[in-house]
Homo-oligomer: 120 residues x 2
């Protein structure tokens, strides 16, 4: 059970709603609160092995959802495009500020950069 924090957090963000309440609880303590298996076991009054089994099952479920649906891949593609858009809009803003001082362009550029935020 190597802890791949970035990947698991992303998958949990997408598919956490499909897990059981118990899986979500232990997964969050382990991945978000960063407690150890032993600490979780003590807090929850279950064995370390029990905690481990539940988290492993949750991880496997999240990986299987991604394998079936590829929504994390899809959102990564969107995120990448949003970054490209923000960079290009920023460049347009700079060109405008250095050469044309057109307030309409400035407003549209700000609108574009603002709209990329929902995609991050």
């Amino acid at each position: 059970m190597a802890k791949d924090l970035v990947k698991m957090s992303m998958l949990y963000d997408l598919y956490g709603g499909m897990l059981t309440e118990k899986q979500r609880e232990l997964f969050t303590l382990y991945y978000e609160e960063d407690l150890s298996l032993a600490e979780i076991a003590q807090n929850e009054g279950i064995t370390r092995q029990g905690v481990r089994d539940t988290i492993v099952r949750a991880e496997e479920a999240l990986l299987e959802f991604e394998d079936r649906l590829h929504l994390s891949d899809r959102l990564s593609g969107i995120r990448l495009s949003a970054q490209k858009i923000a960079v290009a809009a920023y460049e347009v803003g700079e060109i405008n500020r250095r050469n044309y001082f057109d307030t309409r362009v400035d407003a549209y550029v700000r609108e574009i950069i603002e709209a990329t935020r929902v995609m991050e």
Copy 2:
């Protein structure tokens, strides 16, 4: 079983990978090929009621996935932002073409509009 084509197609696009092969097959014939329940029953050599039950179960599963994960809502928000970006970029392009003839701005505008396509 009222046929909500737009909604069901969107949910199928997101969550179809979670359905069984049989559910996917009958769902596609009904929603994408637009065959009637009776036609599907005849083609598949099963009863009309059997076809109906399978499709209803598939619809219920898709609705439950959305209820748990809200990914369709999330993607709708992204799609809306992508449209706003494309409109704003188009306006910048028009302002540029009418006033400044700056080829760099033109190129960035095209890049922005292009990048919104992956979000549609």
